[in-house]
Symmetry: C2
Subunit: 231 residues, 2 copies
DNA sequence: AAAGAAACAAGAGCACCGCTCACACAAGTG
DNA sequence: CACTTGTGTGAGCGGTGCTCTTGTTTCTTT
């Protein structure tokens, strides 16, 4: 029953977006009185939370599936797989993506204890990617070759972050974490920009546009493969 | 009168956000009957449009003011000024920023003829910055040193964009435009991430975090000059 | 099998929203 | 003076989230 509610709500979300999600509409769709819904859902916020978890799970499944098809030694291929899987999922689930990575729904705070774990699956994948890159010496500081002060900033910005087991378990240092965050931010920003048409739908070739951005983002964190291939 | 409505609506927006903006609340605040508002505002969408234009203007003023204080020859300083002004404005006007660069308000499309010009002032500033960088030979392709295929992608992605007078007037080529877009995307993504606490409010030192990202974004588009670091 | 408890569903109702309409009233204009 | 124009009101429609009371069904315990 609750699953059925979630299913109908997900349809409603995919069609009209999160802000237009109406409990009454869900009840109507199911042939119930609007008040009957409250037997199974505390309030609108709880339904939103469940939808967020479902969306994170759907996204995580899609990205992990794409990632699993790539040779683990092929770091660039893994980055490319994760990025394109994220973009593809976002383009086929625009409202869900907006719910996860867009501006927050007003007067709603996602309860961390329910959304944290499913919400970090993609990032966890990237952390493993970074750790593997570090192992084979292909990890690059995004600020490499920049003014020396930036390195200090990276330490200041990321230092305390390293205590988080999320990063600590992978054995990453501050520059690696910051480089990863830069690449992740550029990736998300690119997808967001494309999805919300903030460029005034003037991107002539979205695929090439995204491929370019994904490559640039990847180079913030990975050194070119040819540089480390000895014989 | 219309100005007064806009003023009250802006207050309401700053306090409760765009999605919670209520015409009735504005009327109530002004001591009018809710129906009287419709003498001056066609509907909620029109009010939103006016608020968007006002926000773009406010942001443009702030960024241009900060930019004007920098020596035009100091390219890094200009980038830094624009970026920090954008971030400062966003942090002091979070709901307005969400309205401009967050996920779109459901069932609302901003009319381009009213928002295009004020909405591109900051980008116009950056285009001028890129043009100046090109003039002094400090323009950098974000994909410099990357696999050769990326250059082709840049042409495919940005080629038709160059016909837009917005870029054509500055005399930029495809790699320059794409590098600029990458830097802009990373900048916006960084501000968005910080503002919407998508990192789970775990950023220990937001200022250092932003300074790092701004520097990385700047290096996507500008080659290093003399080692001048801004604090 | 009877009785009680738990679960489920319905409907009325409250306060809010966007928006429309008929109406009243003032001021300026021919 | 009549008349148009601008301005404001109140009622009302359909929509929302949510609560509360009532009634019905189903499961469980004796």
């Amino acid at each position: 029953m609750e699953a059925e509610i979630l299913r109908v709500a997900a349809e409603e979300l995919a069609r009209h977006g999160a802000a237009a999600l109406s409990l009454r509409a869900v009840a109507r769709e199911m042939g119930m009185a609007s008040s009957a819904i409250y037997r199974y859902v505390r309030d609108r916020d709880e339904l939103l939370t469940r939808l967020i978890v479902a969306a994170y799970t759907s996204l995580g499944d899609a990205v992990e599936a794409a990632h699993a098809t790539v040779d683990p030694a092929d770091l660039d291929g893994r980055w490319w797989a994760v990025g394109t899987a994220l973009r593809d999922w976002a383009r086929s689930h625009p409202h869900e993506y907006a719910l996860l990575y867009g501006s927050p729904v007003p007067d709603y705070r996602a309860p961390a204890e329910q959304t944290n774990e499913p919400g970090t699956r993609v990032q966890a994948l990237l952390v493993r990617l970074l750790a593997d890159a570090q192992r084979v010496g292909r990890l690059r500081d995004a600020a490499a070759g920049i003014a020396p002060g930036v390195q200090v900033r990276a330490e200041a910005a990321a230092g305390p972050l390293l205590d988080d087991p999320f990063f600590a378990d992978a054995g990453l240092d501050a520059p690696a974490v910051m480089a990863g965050l830069a690449a992740w931010t550029l990736l998300l920003g690119t997808v967001t920009t494309e999805l919300f048409e903030q460029l005034g739908d003037t991107i002539p070739d979205p695929d090439a546009y995204f491929a370019y951005m994904l490559e640039v983002a990847g180079r913030l964190v990975l050194t070119p493969a040819t540089a480390t291939v000895h014989s």
